[in-house]
Symmetry: C2
C-alpha cells in the first residue's frame, strides 16, 4: 500500500489553493491541498504499524512550526507543477529529515522543496500560459501547523487518513 | 465551519465501495467511503478545540469495535440513498450516543442507522433501476475499527481530516 505524510494548511489557505486546483490540478479530487513532509512510500500493513510508532516518536521531539508561504513558483522544466512556495525553515527541514531517517523513502532523492501544489500535469505550452497568471495572484500566508497526517492511497488514487500526530515537542 | 466524525473501513472495503460510488455517488470525490458516527455539525475554531477534547475523553472509554456489514439496503423513500448496512451493535450505538452527548448535533434527530453510502442523489426511477442490481452484489464484511476521525469541510464540499482518535478503552 502507498503511504505519505502531509500537513494540511488552514481552511482559508486550502480554499484559496482549491480555487486554482479545481481548474489546473488533476489531483484536485484525490486529496485536499497539502504540503508533503515525507514523500510517497510503499509499506505493508504490518510495517505501517511500526512506522506509525516511529513517526509518533519523531513528532514528540518537534514543536508546532510556522508554515509561511511567500509566492507562487514552478518546478518547470523538471516537472510542470506550479505551487505556493513554503519557506524551508530549519524546523521544517529537521522534521523532514527525521521522518526520512525512519526509512521507507522514495528512491528518487530529490532535494526537499516544501510546497503546496496548485497546478500540475500540464504540457509546456499550457504551463507557460498559466504560470504568469498564477504568479500574479501571490501567496502570502503565515500560520501555525500543530499536527501531521499519515495517509494511505486507495485503488482509485484518492487518499484516506490513517492517523494524525500532534507536534507536541517542548521548546 | 462544518465538522463530522467518521470511521473509515479498510482499504479493501473502501475500494469495493468506490467501485460503485464512482458511478452512483456524487460525493465520490469529496470524501472516501466512510461510516458516519456523529453527523455533520457547525462549530467555530474555538469550539472545535473543546469538542476535540471531549471526543478524546469519549473514545478513551470505548474499545475497538467490529464493523460488520451484512447487505446492501436503501433509505428510499426517505432519501434515495443506497448503502452497505452496518450491524448496529451495542458498542457502536453506545459510542454514537456518547459522541452526541457532547452536544453540537444536527437538529434533525433521525434515528442512528449505521451505514456506508454507495449511491445517492438519484431520482426515484434511477433509484428503482439501480437498487435491485446493487442488492445483488451483497456486502458481507467484518473488520475491526480502532480509530475515529474528526473531519471538517472545505468551501468546495470536500472533507479534510482534523484529528484521529484511537479507541483505546479497556475491555
Amino acid at each position: 500500500m502507498k503511504y505519505g505524510i502531509v500537513a494540511f494548511p488552514s481552511k482559508k489557505v486550502q480554499d484559496f489553493a482549491n480555487s486554482y486546483r479545481k481548474r489546473y490540478d488533476p489531483h484536485y479530487a484525490l486529496i485536499t491541498p497539502h504540503m508533503t513532509v515525507k514523500g510517497v512510500f510503499e509499506a505493508n500493513e504490518n510495517e505501517i504499524k511500526q512506522i506509525a510508532e516511529n513517526v509518533a516518536n519523531v513528532v514528540k521531539e518537534h514543536k508546532p512550526f510556522t508554515l509561511k508561504t511567500t509566492k507562487v513558483s514552478s518546478f518547470a522544466p523538471v516537472t510542470n507543477a506550479i505551487y505556493f512556495k513554503v519557506e524551508p525553515t530549519d524546523e521544517l527541514l529537521s522534521l523532514h529529515k527525521n521522518l526520512n531517517d525512519i526509512g521507507f523513502n522514495d528512491e528518487d532523492s530529490y532535494a526537499f522543496v516544501p510546497h503546496i501544489t496548485i497546478a500540475q500535469k500540464m504540457n509546456s505550452s499550457e504551463h507557460d500560459d498559466i504560470y504568469p497568471q498564477l504568479k500574479m495572484i501571490g501567496a502570502e500566508f503565515e500560520e501555525q501547523i500543530d499536527r501531521l497526517h499519515l495517509l494511505y492511497q486507495l485503488e482509485d488514487g484518492s487518499w484516506t487518513v490513517y492517523e494524525t500526530f500532534r507536534l507536541s515537542g517542548a521548546e
